[in-house]
């Protein structure tokens, strides 16, 4: 009875949709409607790019938080080099572009009826929807690491209160304490992020609590910008920072939050401060919308970012399986603009063009020591692939002046990209 009624409602909604929007692509008298779910680097970029590409498109951005808290540079907040408010942005300028901000949570997407359901049960009809939900923690994928454990052993991988919790724990620790950071297997948000964090925590310990020690337990044997990080670690933090790769027993198999213990196949590490960067998946709405595959992430068309699983739904940013592109803020912004151009064309019945995308990502190894990775990407064989011969990391033999220049460029990048998206 219950499911019968639901089916009836679904049919009704589908029929209404079909009756209201026949030949949608040609019906230019009413504005095409795009709903963007998630107001981070990907979603807010996409919403604004849609309006810039074609001001006739009616864009609604669904985002429950009144302010956005950015992850890039949040490692500097963790170690007291920066305040959290420098990471926070409102949606005032986004709204000023004529984008309707729906300050609530999207709880459903109906690809047949083409509507997004909101927390209060209201439905937002769309011609195309863009999901930019970022990541969700896979609670209990690492045994013992649930939401309660995160209050003792913060992940600080979604910026905000978790960032401040890890900072308070580091500040409160006595000199001589053991800090442990655990890094997950691929893929995860911000591939160089755990190693930037380890670097800055090592800098904090060296300058504030020099008798302390930092161990990084890694579920991998290789990581982003590895040679550059390790070169800098031996130069700046010898004896202070120890990286334990998978092959040396670095993979954490369980945690005990009450005692801040991280367990591997070979050892138990009881930490004074434990930062668990746990396994992740695409944000919840992606799963609800049926656009995640068995990996927990979202397969997409490399030119349009339309889901390979559900028509009319696009996925951008960390939630997407973007081939060679890393899960970074720059990549999210680049994907958002590509997706917006494709959506604008698809709404008019035009063929999307073949895009080229860029990623640039800086990491701080110390406040005046920056390193970078850059890449150029294009669709190839149904995936996003790196353009052969392009991209790469900072030179290994660069002088300190180059590292200092990259630290300055890193901050300039943050100011620039956040101004474009939120300014």
């Amino acid at each position: 009875m219950k499911s019968g009624r639901r089916e009836f409602l679904k049919l009704g909604a589908a029929a209404t949709g079909a009756a209201l929007f026949p030949g949608r692509a040609w019906a230019q008298s009413t504005a095409a409607r795009v709903v963007v779910v998630g107001g981070g680097f990907a979603g807010a970029s996409c919403a604004r790019a849609l309006r810039q590409t074609d001001p006739r498109i009616a864009v609604t951005l669904v985002e429950p938080n009144p302010t956005f808290t950015a992850c890039p540079f949040s490692n500097a907040v963790v170690v007291g080099l920066r305040e959290l408010r420098a990471q926070q942005f409102t949606y005032d300028r986004v709204a000023a572009d004529g984008i309707v901000i729906s300050r609530t949570t999207a709880t459903g997407v109906d690809p047949q009826a083409r509507s997004v359901t909101l927390a209060d049960g209201a439905r937002l009809p769309y011609d195309r929807v863009v999901l930019a939900p970022g990541i969700e923690i896979r609670w209990n994928a690492l045994p013992g690491y649930d939401q309660a454990a995160a209050a003792q052993m913060p992940h600080a991988w979604q910026a905000g209160e978790q960032t401040l919790l890890l900072r308070r724990q580091l500040e409160a620790m006595d000199d001589g304490g053991l800090v442990v950071i655990s890094a997950p297997a691929n893929p995860f948000r911000c591939p160089p992020g755990p190693y930037e964090r380890a670097s800055l925590v090592a800098h904090f310990l060296k300058t504030k609590k020099p008798k302390s020690k930092l161990i990084v337990l890694d579920a991998k044997d290789a990581f982003s910008k590895q040679r550059l990080f390790q070169q800098a670690w031996s130069e700046l933090y010898p004896g202070l920072l120890e990286w334990v790769p998978l092959s040396k027993g670095g993979s954490v198999t369980s945690v005990d939050a009450a005692t801040r213990t991280l367990v591997t196949d070979f050892a138990r590490h009881q930490a004074k401060v434990a930062n668990v960067i746990p396994p992740q998946k695409a944000g919840r709405i992606a799963d609800i919308a049926g656009v995640t595959d068995r990996t927990g992430w979202c397969p997409i068309d490399p030119a349009t970012f339309e889901s390979k699983l559900q028509p009319g739904i696009h996925v951008i940013g960390d939630a997407a399986i973007a081939g060679a592109m890393p899960k970074s803020a720059f990549a999210a912004n680049s994907q958002a603009k590509t997706c917006a151009a494709a959506v604008a064309r698809l709404l008019t019945g035009a063929t999307p063009s073949t895009p080229k995308l860029i990623n640039t990502c800086y990491s701080l190894v110390a406040p005046d020591y920056g390193i970078s990775v850059a890449g150029v990407y294009q669709p190839s064989g149904g995936q996003i692939a790196e353009v052969p011969g392009s991209g790469g990391v900072s030179p290994a033999d660069a002088p300190r002046a180059t590292r200092a220049a990259e630290a300055v460029l890193a901050e300039a990048w943050f100011r620039t990209i956040t101004d474009e998206i939120f300014g």
């Binding site: 603009k337 180059t402 100011r415």
Partner: protein, 96 residues
């Protein structure tokens, strides 16, 4: 009916042309991740909007060949062909 469809197709191609003219060429939209779109932002990285197209082309070619040292632009320029560089430069030259 045939007439209606023909009119509709005509409209679509006009609409597509309008969109295409506003749409940056491949790769161009990504530049503003580092090159400020706004004059509000203080950055050592130059704005591209309104710059001379030939100067952008020369800079990209020099970064690509290695005759000009870059921090990340040497690595990024290697991902673009001459035709792509020219299209990007021409587009930025017309932006404000």
């Amino acid at each position: 009916m045939v007439r209606f469809v023909a009119a509709a197709i005509g409209f679509v191609s006009i609409a597509a042309a309008v969109v295409a003219s506003a749409e940056p060429p491949a790769g161009a939209a990504a530049c503003s991740g580092c090159h400020p779109a706004s004059t509000r932002v203080t950055s050592p990285v130059p704005r591209l909007a309104g710059r001379d197209a030939a100067a952008i082309v020369k800079a990209m070619q020099d970064f690509r060949s290695g005759t000009r040292a870059g921090t990340v632009m040497d690595r990024i320029a290697k991902g673009f062909t001459d035709e792509e560089i020219q299209a990007i430069a021409a587009w930025y030259a017309t932006q404000k």
